[in-house]
């Protein structure tokens, strides 16, 4: 069964919450996910960020909802890594 293990998102977000709070909230709501955020551009009211999430079987839809709840807008999915886990292992 294919499982998402890594995803890189291009996200436009407001300055508040800060990237520290942003990453902490995602990690808090989705245990076993490692979150890394890099700011690539800063505008007057927004900042463009690259969010990298790694973990076993990442729940993408739930993470997208969390990002949306924090005011973020997913512009694109820039990278994914999917593993096909054999049924006997699951």
């Amino acid at each position: 069964m294919p499982q998402l293990n890594r995803i890189v998102l291009d996200v436009l977000k407001p300055h508040q919450p800060s990237i520290l709070e942003f990453a902490s909230t995602i990690a808090d709501q989705h245990p076993n996910c490692q979150v890394k955020i890099t700011v690539s551009e800063v505008d007057e009211k927004t900042e463009t960020t690259i969010i990298t999430i790694e973990g076993d079987n990442i729940p993408y839809q739930a993470i997208a909802e969390t990002i949306s709840n924090l005011g973020g807008s997913i512009h694109s999915i820039d990278e994914v890594a999917v593993n096909n886990v054999a049924k006997s292992e699951t």
Binding site: Q16, P17, E21, E44, K45, N69, G71
Partner: protein
């Protein structure tokens, strides 16, 4: 629920705004009480019941004014900020924490703005209440209320000084000076009448 509220307040810097409103309207309330009580003290011929009624009336008016004005202005400000943020993000934020904050935070700030003058006023006129319920003071309860008003205004100044990083004692004496000047003007005007 508490974590969510804390998060929303942090998101909008609501604590800083509420603190500012608390000091501003609290100062209004304390100075209004000082003015009223100074007036009654210098006239020296009004019953405690009338003084309490007048002070309570003024405190309630300040409370309602504080509640309504802060809610209207904060609500409009939050809506404007949310629309600007939506335009910058090119996204509807109806389901976001920002939209929830825009709805909830004005209520919190209005409550602080309204309750600050009420609570400080009730504190300042507390000797009058005690006197009304039969507790006898060795001196005029109005004088005690005036002293409490001075102390309250000094404390508000010291609080401002502490949060602004200035020397709290100096800031406290500044507001105390304002209170003394106000009391002096009231006494002067009363003597002219």
């Amino acid at each position: 629920m508490l974590d969510e509220l804390r998060f929303l307040f942090k998101l909008t810097s609501a604590n800083d705004i509420a603190r500012r409103y608390f000091v501003t309207n609290g100062f209004d309330g304390a100075l209004t009480m000082l003015g009223l009580i100074m007036g009654f003290y210098s006239s020296n011929s009004v019953s405690i019941t009338v003084i309490i009624s007048a002070c309570l009336g003024a405190a309630i008016a300040l409370t309602v004014s504080g509640l309504v004005s802060a809610y209207i202005s904060e609500s409009a400000e939050r809506k404007k900020e949310l629309i600007e943020l939506e335009q910058a993000l090119v996204k509807n934020l109806d389901d976001s924490a920002h939209a929830r904050a825009a709805k909830l935070v004005p209520f919190f700030i209005a409550a602080v703005n309204g309750l600050a003058p009420l609570l400080l006023s009730l504190f300042i006129i507390s000797p009058l209440w005690f006197s009304f319920f039969g507790i006898v003071f060795p001196f005029n309860p109005l004088l005690l209320s005036i002293i409490i008003a001075f102390v309250t205004l000094f404390a508000l100044g010291a609080f401002i000084g502490k949060i602004s990083g200035h020397f709290w004692l100096r800031s406290g004496f500044k507001t105390l000076l304002v209170a003394i000047v106000t009391a002096g003007i009231i006494l002067s005007v009363e003597k002219l009448l």
